[in-house]
């Protein structure tokens, strides 16, 4: 389960497009689609490259898992049932160092709500969801 007390994350359901991504998460690896002809990362996974429009040159590429905190807020009254018992909880946007045009969401486990160091480096971790599927998370580099 999550290291954030009370948090019950909804579990991702994979499909044909996203299965390689979620399988890699279960191996504690972060892989993103990459368009070989544009040398452009895609996240979330998409059926075709958002730049050239081609579906023919997409491959899965493991990324390093280093990022920075862009902005954040604190969720205090979530509509999502699994989050209500974990409130207040951080909600941050993380940019990927390898390509800052790619961003991820994070609850920043280990960082007290509201005490988020904007601009700080973060590193990849994985957390368990309600059905055991791992999801990618980020924690501040200490």
């Amino acid at each position: 389960m999550s290291t954030i007390p009370g948090l019950q994350r909804p579990a991702p359901v994979s499909n044909e497009l996203t299965k390689p991504f979620w399988d890699a998460c279960n191996e504690r690896r972060l892989v993103l689609q990459n368009c070989a002809s544009c040398d452009r990362l895609l996240y979330p996974p998409a059926p075709r490259c958002d730049k050239c429009g081609s579906a023919d040159n997409l491959e899965w590429k493991e990324v390093q898992g280093k990022g920075h905190i862009d902005v954040y807020m604190v969720i205090r009254d979530s509509r999502i049932r699994g989050f209500r018992s974990a409130q207040p909880i951080n909600f941050a946007v993380i940019t990927l160092d390898e390509d800052p045009g790619i961003n991820f969401l994070s609850n920043l486990p280990g960082t007290p709500p509201g005490e988020v160091p904007v601009g700080a480096p973060v590193e990849l971790i994985f957390e368990e969801t309600s059905n055991g599927q791992l999801v990618h998370e980020w924690q501040v580099v200490t």
Binding site: A11, S14, D77, S78, G82, I102
Partner: protein
Amino acid sequence: MVSGTSWMRNREGLGVWEHRGKVAIVGWGQSHMDRRWDGVSLDRSCGGLTKEACLKAIADAGLSLDDIDGLITSRETRAEQTWAPRPYFDPPYDTEDGLTYASAEWIQRQLGLKNVKYLKSDAPYIGPMMGLAAQAVGDGLCETALVWYPMVNLEGRYGHNNPQNINQEAPGNTAFSLPWGYQNGAMFNNLVVFLQYCQKYGKSHDGLAPLCLNLRRNGLMTPWGYYALHEPYQLTREDYLNGRVIEEPLVIYDCDRPVNTCAAFIFTTAERARDLRQKPVYVLNHAQNNGRGRSTMATLEEHQEAVASLARKMWEGSGLGPDDVDIFNPYDGYLTFTQQFLEGFQWHGVKLGEAHDFYADDIRVEGPHPFLSSGGNNGTGRNRAVLYADSIEQLRGTAGPRQVTGRAETALAGCNTPDSCGFLMMSNHPS
């Protein structure tokens, strides 16, 4: 032809709109507005309110029921709260159609419209729907279209009964957002963009206070609006700054309040409009955005480029430019939206990062910069139609105490969000 999204003017390079000045809005009707439907009063159900609005719009135009040959509406009524199995009533209130939405077919039956040749019940929300209506009339699918947009609000906390938020699983694209607490809808991503804006330009949430107060002021001069009807008092800056936090830093007064209501409009050809009761409000162009950001969260830069592109499409299709727009009514459903539209369209010369300074200037309807003269949705409740209704009234010169003291010959209105929206350019003159 109006099918799929092919009718949309969502790309640059399309040139002047082929029906520029050949379509006009000649009628408008607004129903009663309550906070919620009580579940009992059938004249205040979605169907009941829709009939009221439609009949008012037809009367406003000086038309008869037999003049209507097109019916256009949207199912995007935001009736998120579900309380089925619900009690049904005697016909025609024996299905959801009539209670929580009102289809073209339902209205055709209830009003006894005999000459309808074009029905569309699945138009998108009001922003693009108004463009669709103009295109349908311009394309000759109908001559006189009755167009309505209900907003439905039932009992219950907004969004809390949405099945997606109760589900223990996150299917499809939600798998990349829901596990981290991202809530569907416009708030989270646009709040992220707002935070990026504040970070980049050194601004803060309190910079929205003057806009909020002025919207309430304008809204109190909109007699059919929620606040004028039900809570007729002005907010103070302290009220705003101390408002209940919804999602930091957004407070309750940054969020338009869901209401139960319906608005209707009549679109017809410029030729037909000549002899009607109201001064025609000509449509000079419609334009849409329906993109999304590259990654999980659209960014400030992506939103800024989205609105800049929307503006270029609007100028290209209408033949007007930023200096030509007198009335500007962009959506304010979250108060953070409007700065994107204001800066992207550069209304009254506002450039990137300058919106909060502009709000602190004189934006009253009597002043030199009567921004959102409608009162928007923060000033009248979330009906969205007020953006168009006020534009029409301002161009007609019938906005009463809200009438701007400056020039009111052209108006630009639209919603919803910077990256997903539809806007309409209106004018007192066909060219």
